[in-house]
Point group: D2
Chain length 332, copies 4
């Protein structure tokens, strides 16, 4: 249940009521808002005069639901806008990992050349094996920040675990919580205390319900700027690395007020299928796409098989514009 | 291994060689072609002079593979063409089940109005419960045939099991083998003996490898006209009915020479998501789409939740044309 | 809803009521019983005086549910009994396929030696590839029947599709419907017309709900002798061939009145794990086990990797007896 | 590749070689051992004289593999021993969460009464919803430690994320890494620096390969005391909460040298099935079982549906002893 208190209610009083009804208290759009467990279905009559609106919800997808807030949230990344009524589909490109200054600068130049605003690359890699490349760490983040300053790009990079979340908050413009870290309460709680946009990737074994509930941890912590990212779920099929869940994307668009970004590169895991899938994602009318592109995929230190080369990426972006226009949207 | 014999080799000799190398013998594009198990990797030298080409393959995806036949097969459904170099994306619309003459005639008229060539509807329904509507049977097929004759449409309907495959061969223009019947050897073998186009739906628990191997049963039986249909696989996610596997569709386009059709209606199971998914499928550049549409979905005797109404379907088809054009294809 | 009519109600009257309430009518334990769709929740008052008991059910698991019939059904296979209050765990052993008289006779002798009553082997194989061994067909069934007569064993073999169900009814003592044929309405309906015991294997992509509903097709057809068999479901894990669903087995024991048999051999697909799993299955307290054993697994024409050899099988059966005794059951 | 250096090689030299061959260096059983990526298949000849043994491995399951170390590792938890050649199956019982001193003391007394050595309970709960009970935190750990001292029990509790791993190292005798935290590099790396036993639970969307690779992070960090725990994977089946993967348990027993513990309570999620499953797990011959038991399950603050009550647990443990004896093992 979400209880929006009147704007005249001050912090002390809001906290009093929150304590009594066992609710979270957040300050949102100029007023205090309380969120109880979804099992609570009624607000004590004595508080009715202090509340503007009370929304009873079926499950613990509350602040993220259209049942509470109909319109898609607008996320402003230092002026780059997605969601709301923008009809923007933001391309986010870059390599799997920062590997060197030369490499990441080539990526930054490519984004600049194509009018793309957001550069992605990993610095802390949550690899499956301890015996392979684990990322450049803070040095990688510093190189990304350098590219931001030099090329006027927004930077997105992944937090690996709760020990490096401060580094991401310091250096990144969007903090990516990866599929393997999605349940990490240390990360979720800390990200609730910042207002930087958070791109939350769905775990590959995670239901949509659980995914939205993880987003709720951030929202309930006080950060309204959460973006959902579907990047493929694990199924019995092994010819492709994962299975991109576009039925799930349709569900999120229908029931959640959070912007949705899709990641076809990680989903299929092979470059051959990325262009077709990226066009499909664009035709879904989503708020953005994450696509891996590397100056020389063959020598990439991670995810070599799924990264496009620069020419493939240039060719792809052209076709995406046409698909976006056909459905009344604009690639940014 | 596929052994294409020289065109001078006659049936008797072809069968002799087939018996010796333990191969299937089919007559394909004017010559005899032998297919052995994929574990056979070499043709005895004594037969080399009688073969035009020998293709060694990694697995039992043989006649359906691009490794053997690079170009997509052209399927001609009484003049309606898909695959090959047509760049056609064929819409196939209609209700889940034939329920009455009035109902199926409304569907036929809608297809006619929108310039769509193929009408779908089930007559023999493989329902999950014995206690619900099981379809109109042969009477349903007769109504479909009547609509074909009256409106100049092609008819596709589903075979339920080996006891009714003859009925489908008699009445339908395309025989649909459903997700639950995909492994049915009685059906697969009989469908190999006709040349009517077969639309083979992937089982919801079926790997791509197994799916293509089922197609091989039909191809090896002598019927070259097989179309693959992805209609959603079963995963852990239950907010949607199934998960449409577009990564799998990308894989099929890359590795198989069979045309690919997608069925977003059965995949998501809810009408709200069908338009977005149908646009995504179109942007994949596939050869066709199966979409369920009913004059009055609320009273449909099966799959009520996923069928579009006529106005929703009209609106959808318009947007599909724009998406198809953006990628150089044409909706038919 | 299940309506048990009074024993005084004759067939004509039972059919009249069935027609009026849109129900199936079966003759079961000396009286007529009607089954409606589970969406029907009330019997018209005018029929109350003709009914002994009316059971309203939540879903289309009706005749198979403990909600209707509390005790486990007793299945009598020509004197070999499982289910009911027997506390029997029946071992069913034999090779994947009948390959020759010599081979199947060795298997029959092994069963005889170990006091096992039921011999399994496939004659019609639903293989995934058309280019490999497809089974001996009716000749295989005749060899099995010969072993039955010579060694006093019960015979179980698999129906592949609706075109060969009559052969199985003629030759087998238990008709196995395999995982790939589980939805085959041609088979299910025909098996409802016999009273031979049916072992219905769960499809590897099939939910428990759907599985029980397929059993309902047979029960509603009039055959009360259905045994459920869990043989592994398809999951994301590929180190083993399938994942044996013992949680599902616990659910079936709790909610269904049908006996449950487990097949560890097909589940894991590798002989190394079969003994541990077979002991686990026995400790579950189920009604039987299907285990593949071959005189010489290395040369088996199908499923070579998962079949035990005769010595491994002898060693295993000894330990199963101890486990069964520990939980108050008896291996037969 | 694992390179066991001669015992005469000192730390400085070991590190030199490690740096040159890009390997991890750990001190294990009295000598330095180097581990490279599994893609390295050969040791430079110049180092041959300094190595005792070089083991080339297929994948990044190295220190955990029987290919390197045949016998199961012996884990000594302050005198309570599992693995090795003990043939012990350790019961680990207790509630989902510590809720109060009274509650956890009742649990401790039950363990004492039944001769069970290890008490489990969560203090930091990684809940799916932010709006429900999140655990007692450090206060819960302190209550557990009190029970250890008062009743002579070993204590196992779960680390939630990298921000509370130090608390667990301080208070627990076995540190449990839960299914949702399994990929957490902050936790894995820190746990590699202690020598306390680590119980690593398999993520419900995690392949066996990835699971073992996470164990490698701890082993490669220098902690040899890792126990694997299978607790159910997520599949399409929803009648039960998860699917206990006993095929996977058989695989782990066959290929890994780490002890294996099974958790039937979380797998099925319903108390009715826990006894049958616990007996099945015991019959698998594994090294331990985790079972949830609560003084009054109905009022439990988390996982109410799956916890046994004390009488059910007493009855269960009796039957487990018989099953264990039947296969030559001993419940401790």
């Amino acid at each position: 249940m979400i209880i929006e208190l009147k704007s005249s209610i001050n912090e002390t009083r809001a906290n009093e009521i929150a304590a009594d009804v066992k609710a979270f208290c957040i300050h949102y759009e100029g007023k205090y808002t309380l969120i109880t467990s979804s099992s609570v279905k009624e607000l004590d009559a004595k508080y009715h005069s202090e509340a503007d609106r009370v929304t009873v919800l079926n499950d613990d997808m509350q602040l993220s639901s259209r049942a509470w807030k109909q319109e898609t949230r607008l996320i402003d990344i230092n002026g780059v806008k997605i969601g709301g009524n923008t009809n923007h589909t933001a391309l986010i490109g870059g390599p799997c990992s920062v590997e060197s200054e030369e490499q990441i600068e080539q990526s930054a130049q490519l984004m600049k050349e194509l009018g793309i605003n957001i550069l992605r690359a990993g610095a802390f890699k949550p690899r499956t094996s301890p015996y392979t490349f684990q990322g450049m760490g803070v040095d990688g983040l510093k190189l990304l920040a350098k590219m931001r300053d030099k090329y006027g790009l927004q930077i997105i990079s992944e937090v690996r675990d709760a020990t490096n979340v401060e580094d991401l908050i310091e250096y990144a413009d969007i903090i990516q919580i990866g599929a393997k870290s999605m349940y990490d309460h240390g990360i979720l709680k800390r990200c609730g205390k910042t207002t930087k946009p958070i791109l939350l990737k769905r775990g590959f074994g995670t239901t949509l319900q659980e995914f939205l509930q993880c987003a709720e941890f951030i929202l309930a912590g006080g950060n309204p700027n959460v973006i959902l990212c579907e990047r493929g779920i694990r199924t019995f099929e092994t010819k492709t690395r994962f299975t991109l869940d576009l039925c799930g994307a349709a569900w999120m668009k229908q029931y959640s007020n959070l912007p949705v970004i899709l990641d076809p590169s990680h989903a299929i895991g092979y470059a051959y299928g990325v262009p077709d899938l990226a066009r499909a994602c664009t035709a879904m009318g989503v708020d953005g796409l994450l696509i891996e592109v590397h100056p020389n995929p063959k020598v990439a230190k991670s995810d070599a098989s799924q990264q496009l080369n620069h020419d493939e990426f240039r060719a792809l972006t052209k076709t995406l514009k046409g698909v976006a226009e056909a459905i009344g949207r604009k690639i940014i």
